[in-house]
Structure formats: C-alpha cells, structure tokens
Amino acid sequence: MSVLVAFLVWPILLYFVVVNAAYLALNLHAIPTLRRKITLRPLENLPPVHEGLVPPVSMLVPARDCEATIVEQVRGLLAFDYPEFEVVVVNDGSRDGTLEALRTAFGLEGFPEVYWRRIAAKPVRTIYHSRAHARLRVVDKERGGTADALNTGVNASRFPLLFPVDTRWTLHRDGLRILVEPFLDDPATIATGSTVRIAHDGASAGASGQVELPESFLARLQVVEHLREPLFGRLGWARMNAALVVSGTAILFRKDVVVDAGGYRNDVIAEDMELVVRLHRLQRERGERYAIHVVPDPICWTPAARSLGALREQRMRWQVALAESLERNAELPRLAGSGAAGRLAYPFFLYFECYGPAIEIAAYTLMTAMFLLGLIPGMAFVAFLALVFSLGFMVSMSTLLLEEMSFRLYPRWGEAARLAIAAIVENLGYRQLVALWRLDALSRWWQSR
C-alpha cells in the first residue's frame, strides 16, 4: 500500500513541476523577441514604409442581429489608418434591422457584382455598394453562422490579406500597420496574430494608448492570466514557429492559404483557433516553408468577463474550442516534418492545456482523499499545497517581470502593487476554480461526441 501511495504521489508532484517549468521556459524563450522589440522601439531612423508597396487588406465583419451597434462599428473600421483596405460586412441572415441600418447609414445600393464562390458557404442574396464609402461592401446572405459568414467574406474579398474583425475588440489605431509588418519583413509569413490584453472596465482602453488597470479584482486576475499564456506564452511559441493556439485576438491571414485550406470550419466553436492549427498542419504536410508570427505590441483589447458566471461560460467555451481544434488536427504531431509545432506545442496543449484540468483536479481530489483517509500525514498534504502555490507564484512573478521589462502598461506603483497582489491571489483558489470549470467543459464535450 505504501508503495501504491508513493506511486500515486510522485507523478502528481512531478506533473505540477513539469507544467510550471514549461510555462517558465516559455517566458524565458519570449525574452529575445521582447528584447528585439525594446531595442528597436526608440529607433525612428528606419525609413518609413512606402505605402504603395504595403499589401492591401480586406477586413471581414460577420454581422448577425446587431442593428444597434453595427453602424458605429463599421464607421470605426472605415476610419482606420491604413493605406489601402476594404471593409466587407457579411449580414448573416439577420432577423432584426441590421441590413436596413447599414443601408440607411451608408446609402447602400444593390450592385451587379459577380460573386466568386471559392469556399462553400450559404447562398448570397445581394451585394451592396456605397457611393459615399467606396471601401465598403455589404454582402447579404442566408443565415449560416460566423464561420459561414467569414467564408462568404473570404469569397467576396478583393485583397490578398484578410483581417476578420470581432466587434467586441478595441483595436489600436495603428494595429493593422503593426500586424502587417511581418508580411513585409518575411515573405514566408502566412498569418500574424497579436497578443490580447484585458481592457479597463467598460472603457475603450488601448485605442488611444491610455491604459489603466481594471478596477474589478476579477478583471485583474484575468489581466495576470492573459499576461501568462496569451501574451508571453504565445511569444515563446512563435519564436519556434509553433504558435499553435492563436485565437480570440486580431489575426491577419494571407488569403491564398486560407482558400487552399478550405476556409473556416462550421462545426467548431472557435473557427479562428482551429484554422490556425489547421494551417500549421497543412503547411507541414506539404513541407512548405511558412511562418506564423505573433506581435507582442498591445494592439488588441478585449473586455474582461464581469461576473463569475460569465467567466465560467467563457472558459468552458475556450476549453471546448481547444479540444475541438486539437482533435480535428490530430495528425499534426505524427507528420514526418511536424517540427516544434507538432513535437512540442501540440503535446503541450494536449496534455497541459486540454487534459491539464482533468489531471489537476484529479490530483487535488486524490491528495485530499489520501489526507482525509490518513494515507498521508498533514505535513505531506501541506507540502503538496505549498508546492502548487509556490510554483504558480513563481511563474506569475516571472510573467510580471517580463511585463515590467517590456511594455510596462501599468507603470504606477499602485497599479504594479495591485497586479502583484492579483498574481499571488490567483494561485489561491482562482486557478483551481477555473480548472474545475474547464474539466466540466471537457467532460461535457467528451460525452457529446
């Protein structure tokens, strides 16, 4: 029996050590990218980009039942600072007055445009043009979901780069220029993702460069969380061209690779996440040189979940999205030339991010049960809890250190202190609660398959 206890305890301890060591390694791996960014930041002596050679961009805006907000959102996009772009709004069979609001606000008229259906999508009813806004086109189609609307947008787009827009984001006014830079510098670039930051409570933080730490403690916990994985984690992976999970944020795609890949899938929750994983798989299968970059600049801001209920729903959705994306591209790690994306990133996301919550919750349950049954003494149980807390604390601190070394979005003492407190408290129940929700999502997804 004692051998059995030790047999159970050792893997649990080692699992936590390995997971946190991996996060720490990713943070360390992100440092050269950040250093390069910091080194080049004060350099205004590089010649400006010649606007005639900047690739034009098609912004794709899926719109469904958003009569109240769509006009302002489209106005915001039309005011973007970029040399050449078009805004393709796809009205996904809205049942409210979305189309009418657009027609009235922008003076839309039906136009005899020939629609090129390169990717399967629901039928298009009418394509509208605006005499007042030459950059705007609105495609009215039958209801088919976000992925279907995006595929219609891809079909209707005219330019070589695609920028799917989520109307919940707040984008920095130079965001598109920053995202397009890897395409100018590296011809192998097929996609560029940004990192994502948590916006100040309800405010349009980030667009103007004025950044404040959210007031709500729940939002601050999410700030720390977003610093760790979606920011420095992604940068660490991107250095190995293994940024597998890039979603929920601004991504610029090369259109030809999206078309070749068959566009967005309709049967997944996060179509952008799945598409990025699929692009890795397809490019590796073909043995073509490619690069998926991540820019560290804070250009995309998303509102924090405001309540525990909303947070739970969001995390459960993300968990299912991750499981679906990995499952649909399960061949990636088995490919001959799968590289870091298949050999490192895929197993990392599968065992630490996808199955991780199950392993963590099982570990907590098992250790508690063994303690309550007297199989391990109180000291061993305390040592386990101390190990879990200390590892999480160290990784959180390393994340905050990177933030201090690089962007310092929260430079005031008070903000830095509040962020540090959130980083400590995050490990005392919050992470465990999120792991529980993610396990719940995973088990529901598993049962529904």
Binding site: V17, M397, A416
Partner: protein, 352 residues
C-alpha cells in the same frame, strides 16, 4: 499501512521545491520593484539631460558654435545620438549642415565612428544613422562590412547610411545585395529609392534588371517603378520574347504601352499560368483597340475570376468601342458568367 512522513522523499521533495520556487518568486517580486524604481529613476535622469540637450540642439540649428553641450558620458551618448538623429531627420539644407557641424565641433563624430564597432545593436544603430547623416566617408569600409551583417535591421541601416554618403557609389556596391537580401523590407527600400530620385537610381536599376537575378528579380521589378520609365521600359519589354518565367512575363506585360507590343500580349493571353493571362488582359485593355476585342472576349470566359474581371474591364477601356456596343456584347454573350462579369465592369465604370 505505512504513511508518507515529513522525512519521506515525496514530502521532502515537495517542501524543497516549494521553498526554492517561493524564494525565487519573492526574488522576482523584489526584482520587479527594483527594476521599476530603476527605470523611473533612469527615465527622469534621461529626461533631465535631454532637456539640456534639446535647448542646445535647437540653438545649434541657428549657430553650432553658440551651442554649449554638456559633457556627454558613454551612457548618455546613444540617447543623445538618437535625439540628434530625430532632429536631423526633420532638418534640411543649412540647418542640417549646422547640426552636423555641432557633432564635429564636440568630437562626437569620432565617437560615433568608434561606436560602429560596438556589439550592442542599439549603440551601433544610433551610430550608423548618425554617420550616414554626417556623410562620413571614413565610415565607408565599416558600413560596407555591416551591410553583410546577418541581422536585417543592422545591415539595412548600414545600406541606408551608405546611400546617404554617396548614393551612386552605394547603389553600385549594393546592386547584388538589393535583390538577394529578401530580409530587407521592400516597402522601406522603396521609400529610400523614391527619396533618392529617378536620375540617381535608374543606372543601378538598369544594371540589376539586365542581370535578371534569380531569386530577387521580383524585388527589382517592383523597385523599377522608381526609375526613369524610358530607360526601364525597353529592358523589361525585351523580356517578352526571351522568357517563359511567369513573374518575368507579368512584369514585362505591365510595361506594354503601345500597339507594337500587342502580339506579345496576345501570345500571353493563352499562357497556362492565370496571373500571366490576367496581366495580358490588363495590357490589352490598356493599349488595345477594336481588333483586340475577340481576344478579350475569349479571356472573359476564363475559368479564373480575376482573369474574367480584368478582361471585362479591358473591354470597357478598348479604344473605339462605344458604350452601347458593350451593352450589346453583354446581352449577346452566350456565357452567363461572362455576361455577368461584363455587367459588373460596366457598373463599376458608371460608379467610378
């Protein structure tokens, strides 16, 4: 039943790891606080020093001998050079010369030359830019060596500095690197070519175009727009009869500007690569007349949307074709896709 005690390896391991990582976490917390304090102190100090420089730099724009620069230590030198470079970028004519004199008077030009050998990218880049602005011929050999640096930022900054010092000589020196260095951002290189002007860059562009570098020809063709068209056009159009490479043919078709080249465009209209057919459609629309209508009508039935689109627009631009004839063409078209595309092109022309 044996329980796991404090002295057991599992507990000892967990406590040791917890203690070490907790200590590391606390250490990192202190590092965050110390780094924050250091950065605040440093930025205040730099701001104070910069305030002194700014006044003197502005005075130097009027009279460099009247400016009294405080002693600039090695730590402040990159900041100073960056501030000087920024001001120098916005200055022109005599003001630019006077800013250069200021550096010479204070021996900073010598220090910038020495900084070219530093390992720090930031120091080296500030120095590269400064010696470029100073048109410092003594830096030539070092800058030439730096253009071969593996990092695109350093090598490209060095190339730009050379182009500032002696544009024609630098273009000769860089004519191999410009097509080959795919990591030099073309959109930034284009800005430099535009700044230098067509009379300066045409010679080098002609040399590069005649050499037809592979890979890199696509880069040179894109830069060719900054040369003198009368000298570039003949070379590029000459490729029509001597190449089957789609990229080369597309570039050549873009330069067709009179009817004498129409046979080449008609030949390219049946090329297996759709991008070449698209370029042929554009060329035929640009210079063609009524005689080219059958070829464009054929392209209007192409399986590729973009070829049909440009063929339709080509038809609307053909010389000697009246609008009502296009409407008739559209109504008579047996291919529904072709008719629709022509309808779109006509509508776009009316909206434009």
């Amino acid at each position: 039943m044996r329980t796991v005690y404090f002295a057991d390896p599992e507990t000892a391991f967990a406590l040791t790891v917890a203690a070490v990582t907790f200590a590391l976490g606390v250490l990192l917390l202190f590092a965050i606080a110390a780094l924050g304090a250091l950065r605040r102190w440093r930025s205040r100090r730099i701001a104070a020093i910069e305030a002194q420089w700014r006044g003197q730099l502005e005075r130097a724009v009027e009279d460099p001998r009247a400016a009294r620069l405080p002693r600039i230590g090695m730590r402040e030198l990159p900041h100073f050079l960056e501030a000087w470079n920024r001001l120098r970028e916005s200055a022109a004519g005599d003001a630019a010369d006077r800013l250069g004199t200021l550096l010479t008077l204070h021996g900073i030009d010598e220090r910038a030359l020495r900084m070219l050998r530093k390992r720090s990218t930031r120091l080296r880049l500030a120095a590269i830019t400064a010696v470029g602005h100073l048109r410092e011929a003594r830096a030539w050999a070092r800058l030439e060596a730096l253009t071969r640096h593996s990092g695109p930022v350093t090598s490209f900054a060095a190339a730009r500095a050379l182009l500032r010092i002696d544009p024609r000589h630098a273009l000769d020196s860089l004519s191999l690197a410009i097509p080959e260095r795919g990591d030099w951002p073309l959109a930034r290189l284009a800005t430099v070519f535009q700044e230098l002007g067509a009379p300066v860059v045409t010679g080098a562009l002609v040399t590069m175009l005649l050499r037809r570098p592979r890979p890199g020809l696509d880069r040179v063709v894109k830069l060719a727009r900054f040369g003198q068209p009368e000298k570039i056009s003949g070379i590029v159009r000459g490729w029509l009869g001597s190449s089957t490479d789609p990229d080369v043919l597309m570039a050549a078709l873009a330069y067709i500007e009179d009817r004498s080249d129409i046979p080449w465009a008609l030949g390219a209209a049946s090329h297996p690569e759709w991008r070449v057919r698209m370029a042929a459609a554009r060329a035929l629309g640009r210079v063609g007349g009524r005689e080219e209508m059958p070829a464009l009508l054929e392209l209007l039935r192409d399986p590729i949307w973009w070829v049909r689109y440009h063929a339709a627009h080509g038809l609307t631009r053909l010389k000697g074709l009246a609008p009502h004839e296009l409407d008739t063409l559209r109504q008579d078209a047996r291919d529904a896709f072709a008719a629709d595309m022509l309808g779109q092109a006509l509508a776009e022309r009316r909206w434009a």
